[in-house]
Symmetry: C2
Subunit: 152 residues, 2 copies
């Protein structure tokens, strides 16, 4: 099958590209029900982590320009989902923490995202889903160093 189609169009790389952009659109749609963008959702995810992050750390992990992160943070702060606190140890840095309201929002948002992911991966059986995740993790682990594969 698909013999008359250019091999590029069935390559892992091309499919990865298309899967990424399509899934991005899908979670944006799913998150619209809680009035969040994918980008805001990710900021909220990082803000809910164990250690508070500064804005510059956040921009590194998101792979976004600091000036863009700024706007996202402003929006989430206006909605009382996150809070800025000056770092006492270095008063230049502002630490981003999630609020109680932000946590409630995040709970609703992440269940919407999880549902969208389930639907997106529906063509795969359980074993294949697991294999896909493991393979993606193997590829991306060293590109997302803060996943912290082995530091105490």
């Amino acid at each position: 099958m698909a013999d008359r189609v250019d091999p590029v169009l069935t390559s892992a790389g091309y499919l990865l590209l298309k899967a990424g952009t399509q899934f991005h659109g899908i979670i944006d749609d799913a998150l619209r029900t809680v009035d969040l963008t994918a980008r805001q959702f990710l900021v909220l995810t990082f803000a809910g982590g164990t250690e508070p992050l500064s804005q510059s750390e956040l921009s590194q992990r998101l792979g976004l320009d600091p000036t863009i992160v700024l706007g996202v943070i402003d929006g989430l702060e206006d909605r009382d989902a996150i809070r800025r606190t000056r770092d006492p140890a270095d008063r230049r840095r502002s630490l981003i923490e999630i609020t109680a309201a932000g946590r409630r929002l995040y709970t609703r948002a992440s269940s919407a995202v999880a549902a969208a992911e389930r639907e997106f991966l529906a063509p795969l059986g359980g074993a294949d889903r697991k294999a896909l995740r493991a393979n993606l993790l193997a590829i991306m682990e060293h590109r997302l160093p803060w996943l912290g594969s082995s530091d105490g």
Copy 2:
């Protein structure tokens, strides 16, 4: 490992998102050696297919606005990589065909892309690479209908 990281950040969906955007950057870099963008490369790929496509068909397959496709086509035509021909059966449509020079360019470009893909997938062994591609194909097949899984 990674127990202190939010489950969202190790989910298949999130990894897919990051893999997609990072790989996009990687092929843009790789294609810079032949002075092409990822988008131009894909247009060239479709233009080199068995049947000539119109601009509107092209925009459907690329998932891009027709006005954007227009600009890409203009650029590739200026470089004599593709050629516009009026469809004799419907003189409103302009069919996009690849030229001989375009084919030479495509050959160089696709080997650059293939090398980038090999490097990107390097953490995976042969069996895992095959599994990844098969899983992505299973997910995307019905979302990329022109892959034509079974039409004569």
